[in-house]
């Protein structure tokens, strides 16, 4: 169980940290302009938020906008470059997009409808854009349907090779266990058999992975019964569509999705009453993701859960890069991406269909902690050339000018964390800076020797790693 005795952060910083990938001064300023409810609404209307850095990034990385054919050609020409751009694109958009909550929901659904990248690069790139991003803040039903039809999912969970004579159950099982009802959601092995029969014929043309086709020849058009609903004989693609409708509107689905959202945005073991409340909104709005999130973020239980989440490795890295933004520049994208490999959280590289775990028990361990601390230190020391230029960092741009060491520590903490420093933390940091006294004046020599470790320690500290 994750617990800490750190003082809770301000309600404003809490909301900003949970809705974004890490609070920057500009985020906190917007929060104070709009107020909590206005700030949530501003994020939920993501299409209205101008996103010039991402527009520029996509213009420079057109592969992310390409179709399956174009991506395949690009892979043949320069495989590594495409691979790098896809993974770095995931990180960069989390760091730099103004549509921060949208990017967090992209992460949530990427885990929920997990499809690993390596064998399916063209299909996954298209799926990320046309399924996950298109519906991330839309209707759950539309998202589920888009996922079921996506070549990435059809190939990954083998439905593309299912056949009426020998139905492949892989997708049928996971669509209920992981995408909708949850394992205790009330389905039986018989339902798995029947759903697999319903989805026979949902496939891809040989050699073509551009879009799904329905092949009547391999579809089992006999009568089926799914979760008590009779599915009439003699039909085609309607069987699968009806299954998706049954699943999308099932009360177990409302509860399962709501619980996962509460685990993501509130706490590892979210309060049951909150899950019920969020699920009620899910049901009342037929799975309107915006409405569901509004209920979640405006609840008292959300506000009470300050410091209850330990940032996952991807979140931790992105939060560090945001804290140092725009003074940090990544020149070697592989180098930064691979910090996530050693923490077990490389984008799009979770191979089972359930997505990366979302509880501190999975991530707070000796291995993860070491690599997290090292990432903090290496980023900070990039200011002194540690990475041979792979990462450049203008440390003076994030450390405020200060006459005394005490003011320097306070100001740097406030800039990187977003809340004033606690007295014990201040003492610990001062002790590590050559036992400086707070009133000591800051010399050029002191700045050059102690700014990198100060920044590194702040990024590595529990206050930064918890949200």
């Amino acid at each position: 169980m994750l617990h800490s005795s750190l003082a809770p952060v301000s309600p404003e910083l809490h909301l900003v940290n949970r809705l974004t990938w890490g609070a920057r001064p500009a985020d906190l300023a917007r929060m104070s302009d709009l107020g909590p409810a206005g700030y949530v609404d501003w994020h939920l209307d993501h299409a209205a938020i101008a996103d010039p850095r991402i527009d520029a990034f996509l213009a420079e990385h057109p592969i992310l906008l390409d179709d399956v054919y174009g991506i395949r050609r690009a892979l043949d020409a320069d495989y590594d470059s495409v691979y790098r751009q896809v993974m770095w694109g995931r990180i960069y958009r989390a760091v730099a997009s103004e549509r921060q909550l949208f990017e967090k929901m992209v992460e949530f659904w990427t885990d929920h409808f997990n499809v690993p990248l390596p064998d399916l690069i063209p299909e996954k790139v298209v799926e990320d854009r046309e399924v996950i991003r298109r519906h991330a803040l839309g209707s759950f039903r539309d998202l589920l349907l888009a996922s079921a039809r996506s070549p990435a999912m059809l190939v990954y969970l083998d439905n593309a090779s299912s056949h009426k004579d020998q139905p492949n159950q892989n997708y049928a099982r996971e669509v209920m266990e992981l995408h909708t009802l949850g394992v205790d959601g009330g389905y039986t092995e018989q339902d798995v058999d029947e759903v697999a029969r319903c989805f026979t014929g949902w496939t891809l043309q040989q050699g073509w992975r551009g879009e799904m086709v329905f092949d009547r020849e391999i579809h089992d058009d006999g009568e089926k019964v799914v979760l008590g609903h009779r599915i009439a004989a003699g039909r085609g693609i309607e069987d699968g569509l009806q299954v998706l409708d049954i699943l999308a509107t099932h009360p177990s689905t409302a509860r399962f999705i709501s619980r996962k959202l509460c685990r993501r945005f509130v706490a590892d073991s979210p309060p049951t009453e909150l899950v019920d409340e969020v699920a009620a909104t899910f049901t009342a709005t037929s799975g309107d993701i915006r409405a569901v999130l509004r209920t979640l973020f405006t609840s008292e239980q959300f506000l009470a859960a300050r410091g209850a989440k330990f940032r996952r490795p991807f979140e931790s890295l992105v939060a560090m890069l945001r804290a140092l933004d725009p003074a940090v520049h990544v020149n070697d994208q592989w180098l930064v991406t691979y910090t996530l490999e050693r923490m077990g959280h490389l984008p799009f590289h979770w191979f089972p269909p359930n997505g990366y775990p979302d509880a501190s028990a999975a991530w707070l361990n000796v291995n993860g902690l070491l690599h997290r601390w090292n990432t903090a230190m290496v980023l900070a020391y990039a200011s002194q050339g540690w990475t041979d230029g792979a990462v450049t960092f203008d440390i003076a741009a994030v450390v405020p000018a200060a006459a005394t060491v005490g003011a320097l520590v306070d100001g740097t903490w406030l800039r990187l964390v977003g809340d004033p420093i606690a007295a014990t933390t201040r003492r610990t940091l001062l002790a590590s800076l050559d036992d400086a006294s707070p009133g000591e004046s800051v010399t050029a020599e002191f700045r050059s020797e102690y700014l990198p470790p100060l920044v590194g320690l702040i990024l590595a500290s529990p206050a930064f790693q918890l949200t």
């Binding site: 994750l2 617990h3 800490s4 005795s5 750190l6 043949d76 590594d80 691979y83 690993p116 390596p118 064998d119 990954y156 083998d158 090779s161 299912s162 056949h163 139905p167 492949n168 892989n170 099982r173 266990e177 394992v183 330990f310 180098l335 930064v336 691979y338 910090t339 490999e341 050693r342 077990g344 490389l346 590289h349 191979f351 089972p352 359930n354 775990p357 028990a361 999975a362 991530w363 361990n365 000796v366 902690l369 070491l370 601390w373 090292n374 230190m377 290496v378 050339g385 540690w386 792979a390 014990t424 610990t428 590590s432 800076l433 050559d434 470790p453 320690l457 500290s461 529990p462 206050a463």
Partner: protein, 438 residues
């Protein structure tokens, strides 16, 4: 340095069911942040900031207790293709076509069962009497969900998901000796497996190599102290504090270990995969006598819904990695074999009938193996047969509960006094798989 991550070949695109393959099996570049830094020459690590400690001082583990290595084959390993019931004749060969292993190809075990040819490195160990093959083994819970089935097995309580600790954790909780070594329970992984979840400290390590902080040497004492204090101030006894302290203890001991002799034999022949290297590093910990009692290693990729292959192919390659890794481990530690037990397990076997994709879906009974100096070699199977009326919901029935195998190991080799609380409500049937330790 090549940065190619995945060989972009028709074969890799065809092998589409990859739910359980791990990154490293894909030949991922090992270039890391840390290596990038070390390469810049700006970072020098010292090994001598902490005095070398005699590891044995930590552990009061009795000398006659085995080290147990648990290899979990994630995804549902097809026991019928690994340990082929050739004696079934048509009952097997009529149901399996694309994935069938012809009788002429198998390595005979007892006249009825034969090893897949990829298991040749283990066949030799089998013939030497150091490998016990259990068949028709598995969990009595009928779930065919990977996640449920794995959770039930790793918690040691089939059908009960609310059990808060893993079976290995409960073993460590119930033994009468103390062992304060940070290396008492080690998972070679990015994340802690469920079998080790709970209040006993277990160490998660992705690699022993280069496991240290990146910081300038002259500031290291101050910065280490600051990190320690920051995490202690996050709450005495909190997870943050506990993991941070454990990290410092681990780094201290690994520095000592690195300075020691007792490395693995360079010619042991471990595969150059994360699985092979994890085995090599566990062998290194065993050789260094750091108080290791249980170690967990995963090998994924067994969820062969599509293009499973027969004598050759995806499944055969994975078996080959498994067999060469286990054989290398066995030979590397041959002089300690009488204090070492390795067990392999998987969440379920595969269906007897193939699907239309040249693969097999989630089934029931599978195969578990036990390797070590104490085993009674041979095949241990209360074989239920593949006759239609002997099948469980169409698939290989389970006649040996996985807890029978694990209980026997715990009691006979790990001196467990509390197997009733490790597998609550279960009375194990011993199969004579393993002899009592001396």
């Amino acid at each position: 340095m090549s940065r190619r991550i995945v060989p972009h070949t028709a074969a890799s695109l065809a092998a589409a069911c990859n739910e359980y393959r791990t990154l490293d099996q894909r030949g991922t570049s090992r270039r890391t942040f840390l290596k990038g830094v070390a390469g810049s020459g700006a970072l020098l690590l010292t090994n001598s900031l902490f005095p070398s400690l005699p590891f044995v001082a930590f552990a009061q583990t009795p000398r006659e207790v085995d080290t147990l290595v648990v290899v979990f084959l994630r995804g549902g390993m097809d026991g019928l293709s690994a340990v082929v019931p050739v004696g079934e004749g048509a009952a097997y060969y009529d149901r399996r076509r694309a994935t069938a292993i012809p009788e002429a190809s198998v390595l005979d075990l007892d006249g009825f069962f034969g090893f897949h040819p990829s298991l040749a490195p283990l066949h030799e160990i089998y013939q030497g009497g150091r490998l016990a093959v259990v068949h028709a083994a598995g969990s009595p819970d009928p779930s065919r969900s990977h996640f449920d089935a794995m959770e039930y097995m790793e918690r040691g309580t089939p059908g009960v998901r609310v059990t808060e600790t893993g079976w290995l954790t409960r073993h460590l909780q119930t033994v009468p000796w103390a062992n304060e070594s940070p290396f008492r329970a080690v998972a070679m992984a990015h994340m802690l497996p469920t079998s080790l979840q709970g209040p006993e400290q277990a160490l998660t390590l992705d690699s022993l190599d280069g496991f240290d902080l990146s910081m300038p040497d002259h500031l290291r004492p101050d910065l280490e102290r600051a990190l320690r204090d920051l995490y202690r101030d996050a709450g005495q006894g909190s997870d943050l504090h506990v993991q941070s302290d454990s990290l410092f203890a681990t780094m201290r001991d690994l520095r000592t270990l690195a300075a020691d002799d007792g490395q693995s034999r360079p010619d042991a022949g471990y595969p150059d995969t994360s699985f092979g290297q994890a085995l090599r590093q566990v062998a290194q910990l065993i050789r260094a006598d750091v108080g290791l009692e249980v170690a967990c290693i995963d090998l994924g990729g067994w969820d062969t819904h599509e293009e499973q292959g027969g004598v050759e192919g995806q499944f055969a390659e994975l078996l080959s990695e498994l067999a060469s890794g286990l054989a290398a481990f066995h030979h590397d530690l041959e002089d300690r074999a009488d204090r070492l037990t390795v067990v392999t397990m998987s969440e379920f076997g595969r269906m007897l009938d193939e699907n239309a994709s040249g693969g097999t879906d989630h089934g029931r009974g599978g195969s578990m193996w036990v390797m070590g100096g104490g085993v009674n070699g041979g095949v241990h199977a209360a074989w239920p047969s593949l006759a239609a009326d002997a099948l469980d919901d169409g698939d290989l029935a389970i006649t040996t509960d996985f807890r029978d195998v694990l209980s026997e190991i715990l009691v006979q080799r790990l001196k467990s006094p509390g197997v009733e609380s490790i597998f609550p409500g279960y009375r194990a049937n011993y199969r004579g798989i393993i002899r009592p330790g001396a």
